[in-house]
């Protein structure tokens, strides 16, 4: 089945280039958007399998668009394709529901592979993202926060994330820890899911506390 894709990026040179690369590799590029508002609107209409999201979108952040799209369109997955320096934005986007992150400097082959994996529902977990997720769990454990106790990594999950962050492939990790390839994927998936769930709970709590939940209706 052909995977349908939407590309969100405010730079025409890059956007058109990625659109062409993906079309050449058999993807159905349904739409492109240059800003967050248009991205949310158009995604609701064309309902792509995968949204490739840049985070640096001028005024509005791609994080906001990622949150709306993953909330309103459960069938659509968001893959962040962003510059390497935007660490905190990437982390926020992943917490908001993005299922993976690829740097813009990745090769076409890596990009094609990542879009396929995202469409299949697998996380795209680069070493860079693993480092950030590890750091985020540590930050939450260190910072005394009000409300919901922060999620924790199991020992196994920490081991797996650490190996991903050190550049080992899923197969190498499976070999080293003597577990199956699928189990490695599940551990990785679970670290993300816990983070996203916690983020949703925290946002909801914040909204209720500040009376924002009524405004949205």
């Amino acid at each position: 089945m052909t995977v349908s894709v939407m590309i969100v990026d405010d730079h025409p040179i890059w956007r058109d280039g990625v659109a062409r690369d993906l079309a050449e590799h058999g993807f159905d590029v349904r739409a492109t958007a240059a800003d967050a508002d248009a991205a949310v609107r158009i995604a609701g209409t064309v309902r792509p399998d995968v949204v490739l999201m840049d985070l640096n979108l001028g005024d509005t952040s791609g994080v906001v668009a990622t949150r709306s799209i993953t909330r309103d369109l459960p069938e659509t997955r968001v893959l962040v394709l962003s510059a390497s320096g935007e660490h905190s934005d990437v982390l926020e986007a992943v917490k908001a529901g993005a299922s993976g992150y690829l740097v813009k400097s990745a090769s076409v082959r890596e990009l094609v592979d990542a879009v396929h994996r995202t469409a299949d529902g697998d996380p795209v977990f680069t070493a860079g993202l693993a480092g950030m997720v590890l750091g985020e769990y540590r930050r939450m454990a260190d910072a005394p926060a009000a409300g919901e106790p922060p999620p924790r990594l199991t020992e196994r999950e920490t081991d797996v994330l650490r190996l991903v962050a050190k550049g080992l492939t899923a197969k190498q990790i499976a070999d080293r820890l003597v577990i199956s390839h699928r189990t490695v994927e599940n551990h990785v998936q679970s670290t993300l899911r816990k983070l996203q769930l916690h983020n949703r709970v925290e946002l909801a709590r914040y909204a209720i506390e500040h009376g924002l939940d009524r405004e949205e209706e």
Partner: protein, 378 residues
Amino acid sequence: MSTSPALRDPATPLWWGTIVLRWVTLAFALGALLVYRSGYDRPGLAWAAFGVMAAWSLVTTLTFARESLRLRSLVVADVVVTCGVMLTSQQVLSDQQFAETAPLVTTVWASVAPLTAGARFGAVGGVLAGLVMAVCTGLARLEFDLDVARDGVLLTASGLLIGITATTARRSQATLAQAMRTEAATAERERLARSIHDSVLQVLARVRRRGAELGGEAAELARLAGEQEIALRALVSTEPSGPAGGDADLRAALQLLATPSVQVSGPAGDVRLPATVVTELVAVAKEALSNVERHAGPAAKAWVLLEDVVLTIRDDGPGIPPGRLEAAEAEGHLGVAMSIRGRVNDLGGTSTLETAPGAGTEWELRVPRPRQRRRGSR
């Protein structure tokens, strides 16, 4: 930009205070002269001394009002002139007046010199001038009793306080100026980063992607474009370094080591450590990476991971055969491994090297956590 406050001496109000005080005390000295002149041994000399005081008040007013003329030599001269005038009291006052503890010729006018010295040289200068003035008071009266001691304490204390105030004002101003410079540099960097992101980086990224597909010479150009793209991205996303002796963000500093074959990972927020530790750890990481480049072959990739205060540098090269490092050490080659170990030890940290043929090498460097560690939340 308007005139930067960094260019003005923050102690200027203190200088104006001393100028005003000098004229007020001069009037006081005139009053004392009129009251006591009938009892003086040498009223003529008293008038002459007063003339010198008035002239010197005028000189210091004209000079100390201007920042560029607040010369060290003039401030020293102020102390000398004040002492000189004060010592004429020996000839001017009669024995009876000394016995009645009548005021010296300079009266409270003498208290201004320690203040200017404090404003110019800080606490130490103020105290020294105060002490000199106290000794002169004693010499002028040719006795050191409780009154002289009290004057000495007051003169020294006022010099000390003004000195502390001037130094504090200058320090706060220096801090403020540094903060303003950092802010200006950050704003400028953000502007540059936006503009580079919007133009150069987009084109470089495109050249790299398309060139890699075309192959041949174009692929080589693409590779070069890719290197520059990564370097430029890292450069514009790094914060300017703070004042020396402060702390710095190790995360951002490591990011500069990223190349197409070196992936740098770490927390999304800052990792604040003392600037010296950051500099040293980055140097160690560089050393490990250059070793990878030398020994692991051109196709080898490397990963740098920063986790709290643990830094890992791994490569997927051929690894080091067992005994190789020990052999080198035994032959007296202080190789890279020794150098890395030594540098981390000097930071009070520990290092481990894991390697096996075919399994690459992995350095794990652990440094002590600073006690009052500040963590960037984002």
